[in-house]
Symmetry: C2
Subunit: 211 residues, 2 copies
């Protein structure tokens, strides 16, 4: 059986949990408590030299890292239902939306970066403002990318990699006090996604390690 090393609140782990559920795949879930630094153990670093979650071990124990790479691998090895459109231009649009969040938004507000800001002496209100800023910028760009797309999901009638990134990011945005009402098209996609068991069961509060 595959093993997913994750953390209930990690957005990147959350994306992979949704992908596994949509594909109907099961994996053993191995939580690593990020705030306690469990992802920094030598055993885990041998699997994932970044010391980040998620890591997916395939059936033969080979470790895959980076959520988007893991999800594309799942999509290539278990094609149904597809998480990317067939047309190259549409694939590029879905991937670009996902990368606005997975490259330019989430890593700028993750636990590691916020901890570094605190080390530099930034007070807590400014740390939260930083995280809010990163979320607002990323989500505003995403809203612009899909505002003329027919819904209900980000790109059409079925969920794609874009929705897998959007739902966890909106959760982060709310935690950092962002007014997500400014992004009505994104909220439409989120509502469609959350109505699916694959998304609902992947939610942080439904994980065994949730606090």
């Amino acid at each position: 059986m595959m093993k997913l090393h994750g953390y209930f609140r990690s957005s990147a782990s959350y994306r992979v949990r949704i992908a596994l559920n949509l594909k109907g795949l099961t994996a053993e879930h191995l939580p690593h408590h990020l705030r306690k630094g469990e992802q920094r153990s030598p055993v885990y670093l041998a699997l994932n030299p970044q010391g980040l979650v998620p890591t997916l071990e395939d059936d033969s124990g080979t470790a895959l890292i980076q959520s988007l790479a893991i999800i594309e691998w799942l999509d290539e090895t278990h094609p149904e239902p597809p998480l990317l459109p067939k047309d190259p231009l549409r694939r590029a649009q879905v991937r670009a939306f996902a990368q606005v969040l997975a490259c330019d938004t989430h890593p700028v507000q993750n636990l590691k970066v916020l901890a570094r800001l605190r080390e530099l002496g930034l007070p807590e209100d400014k740390v939260t403002a930083w995280a809010g800023w990163a979320n607002r910028e990323g989500l505003a760009a995403c809203e612009a990318l899909v505002k003329h797309e027919p819904g209900p999901f980000c790109f059409g009638a079925t969920p794609t990699l874009a929705d897998l990134c959007l739902v966890p990011q909106l959760g982060n945005a709310r935690r950092f006090g962002v007014d997500v009402g400014a992004f009505p098209r994104l909220l439409q996609a989120e509502a469609a996604a959350k109505a699916l068991p694959a998304f609902a069961q992947a939610a942080p509060e439904r994980q065994p390690d949730a606090e």
Copy 2:
């Protein structure tokens, strides 16, 4: 003809320039001076709502954003030479390496984030230290990912998406004072890449807008 909106020093633009060169494709290069905020003009924001470079306009004027999505589109529409292996697991490894840099490293040290740190009152030496830290963490993980890979490139005998991300990032790392001698396997891949005209001609200092 395709149009590439970029900036000579932008790592993400640099990646796409290498990909175009490897594929033997030409594009009209349209520089946007990031330090002067030219990427924030309303005309450009209509193409790229993030106000970042690169943006690639295809032959019909459709705008593609996000460097990794652009490169995968180029690879899907112009398959030779391939920038990803055929085997799904190898593809996942190449993509993961690229994402360590494109998601977790570069966006944490880009112009926009460093400007924000300055706005928060961080002195210049601490801003440079921040950028150095992000580069060191990302490159150390990349070194671990490929240290047992046969070279000379990151993943074998030909360049892949991994090398397209590595070469620009090593340039950034040096600018921020990182001791790149700590990453011998990455330097081997960089040397192999820089010997190719496709990489050499994409270098920042060879661009018309270079200062």
